[in-house]
């Protein structure tokens, strides 16, 4: 019998993107370009109240004065903001119920494995043994459907599209919108505040433990558009919610912009767990196309003993610029950040977190695992700040990089700022590669190279996957396998 030559990890990684199909439906979109009129038009199309229109216009003017951030370790051609269409939605009257939704769109979600039929799920038609997940499906600039609304309503939970929240819960919105991520926070948050189209709104009332996982699935379909969604989650005193976010886009040769803003607010004793599996189209193996993912995510632990946890699995996007952060204002509040970022081919990621300790006895944990393969570049950028008032604050950071192939790059930029004597900050990082020894050991035991790499990578990411909800963990580890296909040796 001829022995198989042991293969290198990089030989086994050739990306196959399964969510890259286009849904053929008629779309109506605004012509490309950005001006005050466009901002007003978006607001008009969504029949928004005047306060929101003015808020958008104000954001637009602030955006005009701001400069694009250049500090990230990323290289990409300048974005022409006038060539992007800022609003696109499926043609026709907006659907009032799931039955009215264009079957093509429903099929799209089915193909992506996102169940939108409550009855089917409840009747056990969809094979799932776990608890159902309520989904808000956002297609281009609009929310198509939100499932399980009634079940949730019985518990007092509000889960709806942002547009609906503008109509039905304006008070809550006005109270919290832009409070965690102010308009001026950064260039992309200002842009998002001016042109945001849809997104999800969640409110968990006092003392309620949300009965099921909430989830939003973002899909960019139309060409030459950007997606600018906004998510706002408010967990009132003593409540608990676990929220999932997924995203995909078709394969196209041009780059598309996705600039979202996510704001989380946790009051006394509340807990928010926010998980993302980001699988935007990453571009082809020559670095053509792909999504520019410029996202601002921030949570505010406003109340005492509140808890916010971010878990992200980043495998997609040509460029990722994303720093889910937590402001730990309440005493004894806890912030967590678990991240796996995988880049392959020509992908570039500059991602990490910011933990700002303001309250006493606040705690934060950061676990970041970066995997770079091919010719990609993967950077962790983090900031841990201990403010003078943060008595007994504590942080632990671990960020590890795994390199697969000799042409990829891995970087770490951790900023630590301590202005408090009795606070403790610990940071550690390592960088290694999938070694020939590890591969040899696996192959010698009859495990093929692809499996071996995915095993090693999964082991490397175990700490993060453990924090994901079950179904998501499986999806994530499968996603890693797909993304790593062809990178091994």
């Amino acid at each position: 019998m001829k022995l198989q030559e042991p293969r290198k990890p990089e030989e086994v990684l050739a990306q196959e993107y399964t969510a890259g199909f286009v849904t053929n439906i008629e779309t109506e979109s605004l012509p490309p370009g950005l001006s005050e009129e466009v901002v007003r038009k978006i607001s008009e199309l969504k029949s928004e109240p005047e306060w929101l229109t003015e808020w958008r216009v104000d954001a637009f003017h602030k955006w005009l004065e701001m400069e694009e951030p250049k500090w990230a370790h990323l290289e990409y051609p300048a974005i022409d903001f006038q060539k992007i269409s800022y609003f696109a939605r499926p043609k026709g009257e907006p659907p009032k119920s799931l039955d009215e939704v264009d079957p093509e769109i429903l099929q799209t979600y089915e193909k992506l494995g996102i169940p939108l039929h409550e009855q089917k799920m409840l009747a056990g038609v969809v094979e799932t043994e776990t608890t159902p997940v309520a989904v808000d499906a956002v297609f281009d600039s609009v929310s198509i459907a939100t499932t399980f609304k009634n079940t949730l309503r019985e518990h007092g939970v509000i889960f709806c599209s942002f547009s609906e929240a503008v109509e039905s819960h304006p008070d809550l919105l006005r109270q919290y919108l832009g409070k965690v991520v102010p308009i001026r926070d950064n260039f992309y948050s200002a842009l998002n505040s001016a042109v945001f189209s849809d997104g999800s709104f969640v409110y968990i009332p006092k003392g309620v433990r949300c009965p099921m996982e909430l989830s939003t699935y973002f899909r960019i379909n139309a060409a030459n558009t950007g997606q600018f969604e906004r998510t706002l989650i408010i967990a009132d005193e003593g409540s608990h919610v676990s929220y999932l976010e997924g995203c995909t886009a078709p394969m196209r040769d041009e780059n598309q912009l996705h600039a979202a803003v996510v704001e989380l607010i946790a009051l006394d004793d509340a807990e928010i767990k926010y998980s993302t599996v980001q699988n935007w189209y990453p571009g082809d193996e020559h670095g053509r196309g792909g999504i520019y993912n410029f996202v601002t995510k921030r949570g505010m632990c406003r109340g005492a003993r509140s808890h916010i946890s971010w878990t992200q699995v980043e495998t997609g996007s040509a460029i990722t610029w994303k720093y889910p952060s937590v402001i730990l204002r309440g005493d004894h509040s806890v912030g967590e950040f678990y991240s796996v970022a995988l880049t392959n081919n020509h992908q570039q990621a500059d991602t990490g977190t910011k933990m700002t300790h303001i309250g006493n006895n606040t705690k934060s944990t950061i676990i970041s695992k970066g995997i770079s393969a091919g010719k990609s570049s993967n950077a962790y950028r983090g900031l841990v700040r201990m403010n003078p008032g943060a008595r007994n604050a504590r942080n632990f950071t671990q960020c590890d990089s795994l390199l697969i192939g000799s042409e990829c790059a891995a970087h770490t930029f951790p900023y630590i700022e301590s202005k408090r004597r009795d606070s403790i900050v610990e940071h550690e990082a390592t960088a290694t590669r999938v070694s020939e020894d590890q591969m040899f050991l696996c192959q010698q035991r009859g495990i093929d190279p692809e499996k071996a790499v995915s095993m090693i990578v999964n082991g490397f990411c175990k700490e993060v996957f453990r924090t994901l909800p079950m179904e998501f963990a499986m999806e994530a580890s499968k996603l890693l396998e797909v993304s790593l296909e062809g990178a091994v040796g």
Binding site: C408, H411, T430
Partner: protein, 353 residues
């Protein structure tokens, strides 16, 4: 070296931006005092290198004998950087010395550089093949750029002692290592009104070894900024960087360490560590250990901590009858002694050896 005529200040240097505060790499230290409050035009007392070793030659920059060396190396040891203060040094340096350690002397050569005041000066240090040099450098204030070239098999032991000062000090040290050479730095720093040390190491040959270690104890409102970059340009080299610091009173310590591993620099072994202790409510610590890696077959790690004295350790000592202040001193001293063992360095830091 003749100072060039000063027309405008701060001068516009093509291709190099005037640094701005709150932006990397000047995020936590204001660059203005180094530019505006420092008297570049005036000639103050320079530092003086002294050596009694046989294998050491010391020249002033204007000595025609070393014109060739100056032509070859000055401003060229590092790839052209964009450091504005270094560029200012180039324009205004009034004093300059070339130190050559000859391979003719097989033993260790010694050079003692004693501190000057407020002087804008420059050093070029060449260590010839297989030569060994030990430098003891005492610094107090000024703008000083040191360029070192370690030829094949050369060895440089660099002890830098930084005294307490009420002045500004900017040190930029660039070290380039060829094959089999070895660079060791021990830096002990007290506070300054504003003190910044930039240390750049370029590893350009295989089988090289770099050890950078340092300790600081800052008091009152002093400010110390260490910017350290270790560039592994070729593979098969080892670097170890370890800095420990204590901040008392209202002092501020900044540490920015970076390991860069160039594409193809395989089999590199690099580590970077920075630990900080604060003893006062108003002290501030800023640390950023960076990695920038472009090769995969490497072992690379970094760590940074900031904290205070472990109450358990204090309790242990107290329970053995040691008074609070003494127990604290023991722990603080041992924290610095973990990295610095040199007697003079310990003395400067006020530690019993």
């Amino acid at each position: 070296m003749k100072p060039r005529e000063i027309r405008e200040f701060p001068p516009n240097i093509p291709g190099i931006e005037i640094p701005r505060a709150r932006k990397d790499p000047w995020r936590y230290t204001t660059p203005e005092p180094f530019i505006n409050e420092f008297s570049y035009g005036l000639s103050n007392s320079p530092s003086t290198p002294v050596s009694t070793s046989l294998g050491v030659e010391i020249y002033q920059f204007n000595n025609p004998e070393c014109a060739q060396l100056i032509e070859t190396y000055v401003g060229k040891v590092a790839p052209r950087g964009s450091n504005y203060l270094t560029a200012l040094n180039r324009l205004y340096a009034k004093h300059g010395y070339v130190i050559v350690a000859k391979s003719s002397n097989k033993g260790i050569n010694h050079v003692n550089i004693s501190s000057g005041f407020d002087c804008c000066e420059r050093y070029l240090i060449i260590i010839e093949e297989n030569a060994k040099l030990s430098i003891r450098e005492l610094t107090r204030s000024g703008n000083r750029v040191i360029e070192c070239v370690l030829q094949k098999g050369a060895k440089l032991e660099h002890l830098r002692l930084q005294e307490e000062t009420l002045d500004f000090e900017f040190n930029h040290t660039v070290v380039k290592l060829k094959e089999r050479s070895n660079y060791e730095l021990i830096q002990a720093s007290r506070g300054g009104r504003l003190r910044r040390n930039e240390i750049e190491v370029y590893i350009a040959g295989k089988n090289t070894r770099v050890n950078l270690s340092g300790a600081w104890g800052l008091k009152e409102a002093s400010h110390l900024d260490n910017q350290i970059t270790v560039n592994h340009l070729v593979g098969k080299s080892t670097s170890e960087t370890c800095f420990h610091g204590i901040v008392h009173d209202e002092s501020k310590a900044i540490f920015n360490g970076k390991i860069y591993i160039a594409p193809g620099a395989q089999l590199t072994d690099a580590s970077l560590q920075n630990k900080n202790l604060a003893t006062s409510e108003k002290a501030e610590i800023y640390t950023k250990p960076e990695l920038e890696l472009y090769a995969d077959d490497i072992a690379c790690s970094h760590g940074a901590t900031s904290g205070f004295l472990d109450p358990k350790q204090l309790f242990y000592l107290r329970s053995r009858g040691i008074e609070q202040t003494e127990a604290e001193t023991i722990l603080l001293n041992s924290f610095l002694k973990e990295v610095v063992e040199d007697e003079e360095a310990l003395e400067l830091l006020g530690l019993p050896s």
